[in-house]
Symmetry: C3
Subunit: 398 residues, 3 copies
């Protein structure tokens, strides 16, 4: 008799506590304890744009005097969207009956009411605080009583002559659309999964990165003060070994050094920012002398860009996008069979569950900063080459 | 600490009792006490067309002998749609097994049954009564025991030489598609909202109408026998004042005189006809010597038609369509902050709630007519100029 | 007072017990007691393809050594889809971390694990058995303990010189897409509905078949060992009569002889294979000397193919697709008014309900074969001409 057929299959559940991002959801409340990038600085102008983050739809604009506002879109008066608002010196004017709100939601004017609104100070358009840093705009969507400082990162401080910060929000370097259409956690977990690299990115996709990345590494995982890291050792066969350190930092940061193996501390950090439970964007900041550094990192496949591949080529040369999206809109984590090589994923899930409990009990999750003395976060991720290069004839003897 | 942020936002609910239109819903049953326009007369032909109204899908056709039928689409025999039916002298024949139904749903023939159906008089295709008037076809979807007379309106009676009735079902004059894709009440309420005119239609959209309409009016509101009206006074600065009367009449009529300010009683009336809870059409009848009168009322924006505007231009020059649609598929009325200028909206909502109670208790809602003597409804809406025009030099002194 | 209007209409329910196909549904479990065609033989290659059947999504492929696999798409390791898998000699390799599964779901390799996975024999990718016959691939999705033999049909055995088997999965001959977008039962029931032929296929669609098929037949219905059949008698007016036998065989077979009236036992059989509750495909096998036999059966309408008709032409010349799809995504069977001419439909529904009870009680539904001696199923459907052709002058006298 046949065994193991799908006739008896019962499908496991997703870990919704970890995956969901909305207000009041377990991890959604952890995410709301941190600042998140919402747009590049240059995208906030006098033309309002819609922004979606953590399941919340908002309107972003910059007043004619230069202040950035991030407001609830539904005008508190009668509900027309501030997307159609007119931006003025001090705020944004609703198109329907002309109420004006400043970036903190104060109502400055009700033009059809007597004296422009005798009671206009009694209403408030819901808003969120926004700050600028490193070329991005950051918002805090959490409890005002717990608003932390907006962190700095040593990676991006003390630029040398000719260096600059570069920002990107165009998706996964290996391919896929700018707005990634599946649950963010599938991407974030992937950061602690070094073993997919030699399979997906070398064996399947024709070595997207470097020959060294095709080697199966020796990996150890460690909890850190701010998340989890993996240390991946590869013997390069030329007398050197490569120690590659990859970090995830709470609540959604990815510290992944260039897969093209530039040496030393990583020059870039990414933020995996959920729009809602089934879509996210990635904001990346890099420090380099070449303004095209991030653009040049994008993979090609048989010499073609991802967007120009046919369906058959997408199927034949899958990358992170295809693998992670095919896990489903929200992966059924309960179906996973985690093994020794999935230790990083397991550790991350445990730490997420632990922080959910900590936040629910009123504690602080890792890495929220309330003291200026702690403001600059040290970054350890990078590619570290060890040992001396030997001649090709000695390759076999480390 | 920040105050008024969206972190604590809890969203209010829509007033579904007023907004919903389906069979058995509170206002749906009020709507079903009246006749509604369903199509222009010329659209009922021997080619059946689908018609959707108050959440009900129906098939409209005209027999070869000229009678109009409005039938439930699902053939009572085996369920094929009468959309594919063949129209004959006396009725419509289902394509699947050939049953024939007349406009009252009587089954005239079952061609594959013995003697064309020995028991065909025991079945009935569900139907609704239809009447023609003023160039439109009107249907009554309510309790047959309470079917009122189909009203006449003084506006459209006793046409003078050269005058004609003109009909239109192509949407909002200011822009938008013919089928409006949001809840009908957002549009109907707008009729009692004179203050949006100087903001939305002048300040934002570049004065869609006339300079006079850009003035903020003095407004009073009154309950009438059949609904609510607003009386808007504008001092024109030339010695004259403009008294503009706008009416809503139950259950969904809009009596809005030309915003181009032709003088006297309005020459047009509109019906806001829900297809379902989130879409509606507007039927308008006008009386004029110019058959293009209604077409010429349609707004342009920087000289362009609405349909030819870019996304950026739609955002920059919003009109009724953009403002009302952006309130949501069904506006969250519970979120509104109504002020002195929203008195008309508040009065209308109260009167709707009152009529829901009246109908639920077996009473008649306003304006249903059972006596031929009451058949012609008087219309008061219009633009009334008062005072004498003075010379330009005296403009400042009314 | 008007009677019979739609105001009081309450809609009946679909017979979901008969219509639904998913795992655990009443008729879904009947369907799972049989083998079903899932693809043409030539469609299983080293490029995996998605297959959907009975509500289950699966991946079909053929190993480089020629074995066919039909696997659950979600890799049991971390959930990436095997659609992106690479097919090798013995199985398919997941793109994400490289686990390899054979067509029975055994895990052959876990390349990143020590020794390629010390415990890889403890996991199993869910799979279904597949067999090849008559140019199609057949899968069994049921309880392994009850797996029957894959039947043969006398129609397709002992091919003569020049004869061949022809397969088709491109939809209904009369028109419509290859993937039919409504409930499968609407199509299957239609097989036992001979009376729609003279109406839909002659009166409406301009005689899609032959003049003889436009005659309203005398019909008798009989239960058979494997389903229900209709015997349709038509006096041809030339001295001959036509006895046409049409069978449905459980659980979803259609035995319908050519409507172009080739004489004798039918040379083709169809399988109505649900993808899910609201879509299905039809697999047809025919035996003929002409490899284009099935293609040539497809109807034209005023000389045009179905796909090239305008919307107005589709409305004016409806066929099986339009009639059956217009019954709804799942027809509201409870609304039907079955009459004498619907006896075949009524008998089929009763027999389906009976088999649901039989299967639920552990019995075998009709036609499942466990004994090799019963393997070849006899087919009775066909067109049988009786009597002698007489001269045209004698036509009136049978």
């Amino acid at each position: 008799m046949d065994t193991g057929t799908a006739y008896d299959l019962t499908l496991g559940e997703p870990l919704l506590d970890l995956a969901q991002v909305g207000r009041g959801t377990p991890y959604g409340e952890v995410l709301r304890r941190y600042w998140h990038p919402v747009a590049k600085v240059e995208n906030a102008t006098t033309r309002p744009i819609p922004v979606k983050i953590l399941g919340e739809e908002l309107i972003l604009f910059r007043t004619r005097k230069g202040k950035v506002g991030l407001l609830h879109p539904r005008c508190i008066h009668r509900g027309a969207s501030l997307f159609y608002g007119g931006v003025e010196d001090e705020g944004i004017r609703c198109c329907y009956h002309g109420w004006v709100f400043d970036p903190q939601g104060h109502c400055l004017e009700q033009p059809c009411e007597p004296e422009l609104g005798l009671h206009r100070d009694r209403v408030r358009q819901p808003w969120y605080p926004v700050e600028e840093r490193y070329g991005l705009l950051w918002a805090y969507l959490g409890d005002p009583a717990k608003k932390p400082l907006l962190p700095r990162y040593d990676t991006f401080e003390n630029l040398a002559d000719g260096e600059q910060l570069i920002t990107d929000d165009s998706g996964v370097g290996g391919g896929g659309p700018a707005l990634l259409d599946f649950n963010w956690l599938q991407h974030w977990e992937n950061v602690l999964d070094p073993f997919h690299v030699p399979i997906l990115h070398a064996r399947f996709s024709g070595n997207q990165f470097t020959p060294e990345m095709a080697l199966i590494p020796e990996v150890t995982y460690e909890y850190t003060e701010r998340g989890v890291r993996s240390i991946q050792m590869r013997e390069l066969g030329d007398g050197r070994s490569l120690r590659r350190v990859t970090e995830v930092m709470f609540p959604n940061m990815r510290v992944v050094a260039s897969p093209k193996l530039s040496s030393g501390q990583t020059n870039m950090i990414g933020w995996v920012v959920p729009q809602d439970d089934t879509s996210f964007v990635i904001f990346t900041i890099a420090r380099d002398t070449d303004p095209d550094f991030l653009r040049k990192l994008r993979s090609t496949h048989d010499g073609k860009s991802w967007a120009s591949l046919t369906d058959e080529e997408h199927q034949r040369m899958p990358g992170d996008y295809e693998a992670q999206k095919s896990q489903g809109p929200i992966s059924l984590h309960g179906e996973d069979h985690l093994t020794t090589t999935d230790q990083g994923v397991a550790m991350l899930r445990r730490m997420m569950a632990k922080q959910i409990r900590a936040v629910a009990q009123g504690g602080n999750p890792p890495g929220v900063i309330y003291d200026e003395a702690d403001l600059v976060v040290p970054i350890e991720g990078g590619n570290y080459f060890e040992g001396d290069l030997v001649g090709a004839s000695q390759t076999a003897q480390p």
